[in-house]
């Protein structure tokens, strides 16, 4: 019978014979016909990614790249529901022990097998890390039993699978930090090259969730805001995150569709330690916070939704809407706070503040951030402080931020976790206050105290939550955004009508 099937088809010229949560606008596919494989696509990132290391994720671009190159134990579907990814099933909880079985037959990009030992070592590395350890603060021990990872909990954790779906917990071989230019992951794409302004990736045939439909992917970033839409407009890219055309009224070369994510990406002002007495002062931070003209931030960018905020929790995830009184500068509040700060920080005294010059760092590959920084400089000017803006590479920004060798910087934080406690914890972790981050993530600080604690310490100053809007060629199908505004690149396919 099978042979008949094969021979018959061969005669027919067949060659060799046959025989909704926040994840929005998913186009997971099942029938009609199926998505075809193939195609080399040029896309863009929201900035230059720094290091391809899950633990070093500090921006939307970092999270996007890590999500393509690495895998997590769990994943979040378009409907917002967590499902097993590298794990074979949801965690089995018995008292304080959690058992997670790893799927059989998994491979890293170098062909080596991915097993429970890699998962255990990775989670142990995350726990020990300063940057992301707060995520796993409720895990007191990580052990491996055959192909099962056994976690010991210090307190019950209903959202464990959700935590293990975040970029920071992506699995690396033997839990080691990936090589900067040749990271080995198990994600849908393999990094095959890095140039000054782009990453080159190739589909990984043995990805656990299926081979991506695209063959090759080139992900670019730009230092000039108009370069990205111009490239797209002229047909040089398959999608743009900064508009479809350079000038209003123009038309892109190819038919275009657009899609926008929820506004969950936090753009914030972070603090370094170059002027430690000034920058560590809560009153100074409060003065700057009050002097900001947040209402004007709605116009930053290229038309995507921007929601000014003073809270790390996005309105789209149930966070508080910005009160009208806070949207515009409150100079009386700012001056009062500055006066309090000046009582303990000599450099902020009226007779010395004009000698203070602060530097605001921005990544040169995130042109919108320069406009944000300009508004920060204006706010500082209202306080009587001079400031300059320095645009540096994303790598330099990351290095100076992590070493504290800066005054202020404009940062981006993806909302990979939707729970308010975890978003507050993330804000404290970004601000370098790991102890408070642990308390928030561990459930020690809850309810209204979370917001009070945040307001009292201001580890960062939230500016606005933005959406990511993609304009893409109409023949590029399958586009969707996850809850943290990452584009589902692995589901994209090229559809050419026959």
């Amino acid at each position: 019978m099978a042979a008949q099937l094969i021979r018959g088809a061969s005669r027919l010229g067949l060659g060799l014979g046959l025989g909704l949560g926040l994840g929005l606008f998913a186009t997971q596919v099942a029938a009609e016909t199926r998505p075809p494989y193939g195609g080399d696509v040029v896309g863009t990132l929201l900035g230059e990614p720094t290091a391809v290391d899950p633990l070093a994720v500090r921006s939307h671009a970092d999270a996007a790249v890590v999500g393509l190159v690495f895998d997590t134990l769990y994943d979040v579907g378009p409907d917002g529901v967590v499902f097993p990814h590298l794990a074979a099933a949801l965690p089995e909880v018995e008292q304080d022990k959690v058992r997670i079985t790893v799927r059989p037959g998994l491979r890293f990009h170098d062909g080596t097998s991915l097993g429970a030992a890699d998962v255990g070592a990775t989670l142990a590395r995350v726990r020990a890390s300063q940057a992301a350890g707060w995520l796993l603060v409720s895990i007191s021990d990580v052990a491996v039993d055959g192909e099962v990872v056994v976690l010991t909990l210090s307190s019950p954790r209903k959202d464990l699978a959700r935590l293990l779906a975040t970029s920071w917990t992506a699995i690396t071989p033997r839990g080691l930090a990936p090589k900067k230019d040749a990271p080995v992951g198990s994600g849908p794409f393999r990094l095959i090259g890095r140039k000054r302004d782009r990453l080159e990736l190739e589909a990984w045939d043995q990805h656990v969730a299926g081979r991506p439909y695209l063959d090759q992917l080139s992900l670019r970033w730009f230092t000039d805001a108009s370069d990205e839409p111009q490239l797209y407009e002229t047909g040089g890219a398959h999608w743009s995150l900064r508009g479809a055309t350079r000038f209003a009224g123009a038309s892109p070369k190819f038919a275009t569709t657009e899609l926008e994510s929820p506004a969950t990406l936090l753009v914030y002002l972070g603090f370094g330690q170059a002027h430690p007495d000034v920058l560590a002062s809560h009153d100074f931070r409060a003065a700057l916070d009050a002097a900001l003209a947040r209402s004007g931030l709605t116009t930053v960018g290229t038309g995507e939704r921007a929601v000014p905020t003073a809270d790390p929790v996005p309105v789209d995830l149930g966070g508080p809407a910005l009160a009208a009184v806070v949207a515009d500068p409150r100079l009386d509040v700012a001056e009062a706070a500055l006066a309090r700060a000046a009582s303990s920080v000599r450099a902020l005294a009226k007779d010395r503040i004009d000698a203070l010059v602060l530097e605001v760092l921005v990544a040169d590959s995130r042109p919108d951030d320069r406009e944000v920084a300009a508004r920060v400089v204006r706010a500082l000017d209202k306080l009587g402080t001079r400031a300059t803006i320095s645009a540096v590479t994303a790598g330099e920004l990351a290095r100076r931020v992590s070493s504290g060798a800066c005054d202020l910087y404009v940062g981006h934080a993806s909302a990979e976790l939707a729970a308010p406690a975890m978003l507050y914890a993330q804000a404290f972790a970004l601000g370098g206050d790991r102890a408070t981050a642990d308390q928030l993530a561990g459930g020690v600080i809850t309810g209204a105290r979370m917001r009070e604690t945040f307001a009292a310490r201001l580890p960062i100053v939230p500016l606005y939550h933005r959406a990511v809007r993609v304009h893409h060629r109409a023949d590029l199908r399958g586009a969707w955004f996850d809850g943290s505004a990452r584009l589902g690149v692995a589901e994209l396919f090229v559809w050419s009508p026959k």
Binding site: L5, G19, T27, P35, G210, P212, E491, W495, K498
Partner: protein, 353 residues
């Protein structure tokens, strides 16, 4: 043709054969040499009897009016992957069976709609590497000892299974490692991809296809059995082969015919719906997932496909499955199409005739 390569990718499974039409020949023990000879001859008769099936009767044509009517709107609990119809309980009426990413669901008529009568979770074995878009195949195979059984596998699980309907419960009766394509043919997906492959060796590439549908209970106007098999190629072509069981002295009998349709989607069904001895090919469109879809009915006459389809109905959603069987027991074939929006758990079931 590299038969070995074919065997590597397509598996022929044990065919379910109907019972022999004659009672076993009496062959008592004893009787010495003549008795042994009698038993040998009796056994040979029995083998010959088993090989012989009752001669099929030419069908009697019925009038079919093609008109789409939505008969049910159901939340199946997970996205639907495949649909088929067949008699699972031996009452002469077909059940409608749906394969989702998580379950096998049996549906029967209820009032003027359809209602779920049985459901079974798919095997829990985790899939190691699965295609990015879920793929499922579903066959209702006739069993030698009674009503049909369900053969199904979804790519969301590490294996498939066979089920029988026990009262109002589905009982798993065995595992399936490959994806069932027809009652006696199964295949494996290409690793991590949404299609199957067959053939291929060092010189030629393998042919790739999304699925196969078979029908082996059709009788032509001359009373000859016909087996139809349709293969949906990944390029959107549909290759159809019709194998007629020609009597030895019927020189005019066309033993095999090959036909093609283009721009065909994954969901399709083959059946002689109007009982005129020719086969209707009921297909979905080859649009992109998410685009509006259509069901088109073509008739295969003596000269091949007609110039125009017998019926065409457009849908705003995608057609994910088509199944045909005598679901209401009135002697006519009932053709159903399952329509849904991409990713949705809810499907609309349309009766097309």
């Amino acid at each position: 043709m590299a038969a070995a390569a074919v065997a590597a990718s397509i598996v022929e499974v044990a065919a379910a054969r109907p019972p022999a039409p004659f009672a076993p020949t009496p062959a008592p023990e004893g009787g010495g040499g003549p008795g042994a000879l009698w038993r040998t001859v009796a056994a040979a008769f029995d083998v010959a009897s088993a090989e012989r099936e009752p001669a099929p009767l030419p069908p009697v044509a019925v009038k079919v009016t093609w008109k789409a009517k939505r008969v049910a709107s159901l939340d199946l609990g997970a996205p639907l992957l495949a649909l088929a119809a067949g008699d699972l309980d031996g009452d002469g009426k077909a059940e409608l069976v749906a394969l989702t990413e998580r379950h096998v669901v049996v549906l029967r008529p209820h009032a003027k709609s359809l209602a779920e009568v049985a459901r079974s979770a798919l095997p829990s074995d985790p899939a190691s590497i699965r295609p990015r878009d879920a793929v499922g195949t579903l066959v209702i195979a006739r069993r030698a000892d009674g009503p049909g059984e369900i053969l199904a596998r979804a790519s969301t699980r590490g294996r498939g299974a066979r089920w029988v309907l026990d009262g109002n419960a589905l009982r798993e009766v065995g595992p399936l490692l490959a994806f069932p394509l027809c009652g006696d043919v199964a295949a494996d997906l290409v690793l991590g991809r949404n299609y199957f492959a067959a053939g291929g060796d060092g010189k030629e590439a393998a042919s790739t296809f999304y699925g196969v549908r078979c029908r082996d209970d059709v009788v032509d106007r001359a009373g000859r059995g016909v087996r139809a098999q349709a293969t949906v190629e990944t390029g959107g072509g549909l290759a159809i082969s019709l194998d007629t069981r020609c009597p030895a002295r019927d020189a005019a009998c066309p033993a095999r015919r090959d036909l093609r349709l283009d721009r065909v989607g994954v969901a399709l069904e083959l059946d002689d719906v109007d009982r005129d001895g020719t086969i209707e090919v009921i297909v979905s469109g080859a649009g992109a997932p998410g685009d509006p879809d259509a069901v088109v009915v073509w008739n295969i006459g003596d000269a091949g496909f007609g110039r125009k389809p017998v019926f065409r109905r457009a849908f705003s959603g995608g057609v994910v499955g088509i199944g045909s069987g005598d679901v209401d027991g009135d002697g006519d074939r009932d053709v159903f199409a399952a329509v849904r929006l991409v990713g949705a758990r809810k499907v609309d079931l349309w009766l097309l005739n």
